[in-house]
């Protein structure tokens, strides 16, 4: 185990990766605490700290006398998922259509969440997308990112990569947490056009503030979602 990153965190990341990659699957037992102590040459409280992190994340459950049982890979933070009538997880055949390429604008007034003055003064990068699942329009989303330290963001291609992936790969920005408000609203003419639902039809409206690993850096989304074929699915 290398220095500067706490040992418990390193073990947590190793085990987490093994679960996400399917090396340990739902129902499998992880190595016992004492086996992990021997394998990684660390003490049991440190192992337990790593396992507690996995436990709190919901990736494992623990059973006294039996061991640590994998419950399965959790949803990535902030990732939207849908579920059809079969309770199947995850996205189906997702296609993204960029309605408005990233451009730098002033923040809309009024804005759905309060903004710091610095963020407001820097303007926002605005991105408008339609996301289709199995060729059916499901999500119509407006995204607002503070125009702070995102060089050449407006020249990136969003059809082929998700917004989260671009932020993570190109800017080392990872979504860590967030908050959202969800309402049921009537589709107006705009939503009717994009989501192919009748005017007045009930759709979900999500307002989200996503917190990242960059201190003080948040970004925002306003998403309308058609749930007639797929429900919005989440875990907690």
């Amino acid at each position: 185990m290398t220095e500067s990153i706490p040992q418990y965190r390193q073990l947590y990341e190793v085990l987490r990766k093994q679960i996400v990659e399917g090396i340990y699957r739902q129902g499998d037992l992880l190595p016992s605490e004492s086996a992990l102590c021997r394998q990684y040459k660390i003490t049991r409280p440190t192992v337990r700290h790593a396992l507690d992190a996995l436990l709190n994340e919901g990736m494992i459950r623990k059973h006294q006398g039996k061991g640590s049982i994998v419950t399965g890979p959790a949803n990535g933070i902030g990732i939207l998922s849908i579920s059809g009538t079969t309770s199947a997880l995850g996205m189906h055949n997702l296609r993204t259509h960029i309605l408005s390429k990233p451009s730098i604008l002033k923040w809309p007034e009024p804005f759905m969440f309060p903004l710091d003055e610095e963020v407001r003064a820097s303007g926002c990068i605005y991105l408008e997308r339609l996301r289709l699942v199995d060729d059916r329009p499901i999500f119509y989303d407006l995204n607002y990112l503070p125009n702070i330290n995102l060089p050449r963001f407006t020249s990136r291609k969003f059809e082929e990569q998700s917004l989260f992936d671009i932020l993570r790969r190109a800017y080392r920005i990872e979504v860590k947490s967030g908050e959202q408000r969800i309402r049921a609203v009537r589709a107006d003419n705009n939503i009717h056009g994009y989501l192919n639902v009748p005017v007045g039809y009930p759709v979900l409206h999500l307002q989200r503030k996503l917190n990242t690993n960059r201190p003080g850096y948040y970004f925002f989304s306003s998403i309308h979602c058609n749930t007639d074929a797929y429900a919005l699915y989440g875990t907690f």
Copy 2:
């Protein structure tokens, strides 16, 4: 601290109660770890275990060098929260009206989530509630709990305590995780009657499966939520 209940758990319950009752409010510092050690005559790892439980529940955050800061009576896992236009957290003046007291029934067919055969055979405890915020009906929920090892559940009073609190205090059952599906639907005559919205009005419909610390024990809720005055609020 008395025996048979782990000490860390007793301290967790004491501190949690103090936060919920407003003795410590959002932004307040809890006593330091060493102060709690002296006060309760337990060692620091035990104190930290209790504080970690509060941390994982979201009731506090910790700041090295500063202390443990109360974030407020958080969202417990699976707790529904609402937010008005001010982004204020948490529940307002919540009142619960029991429409149908707990009774033991067969599971409805078809049921919204797959059931184990043992669970299906045991029947369910059914509870129907209307929850009002500032005297406005907001949540209409149907709850289904497997009729397994919940002695005298049907004789408990639900108006004065939440379902989660009763499960936790009387049965040591805590909600640990869960999954949900959210849709926007039109209010039918039933929902119109309970949530005081026009027939056809868009409301949220949540189907939830809540996982507990008791192995294999899940319970379920179907919730309709009127979001015209308050949004459904969540963090992730």
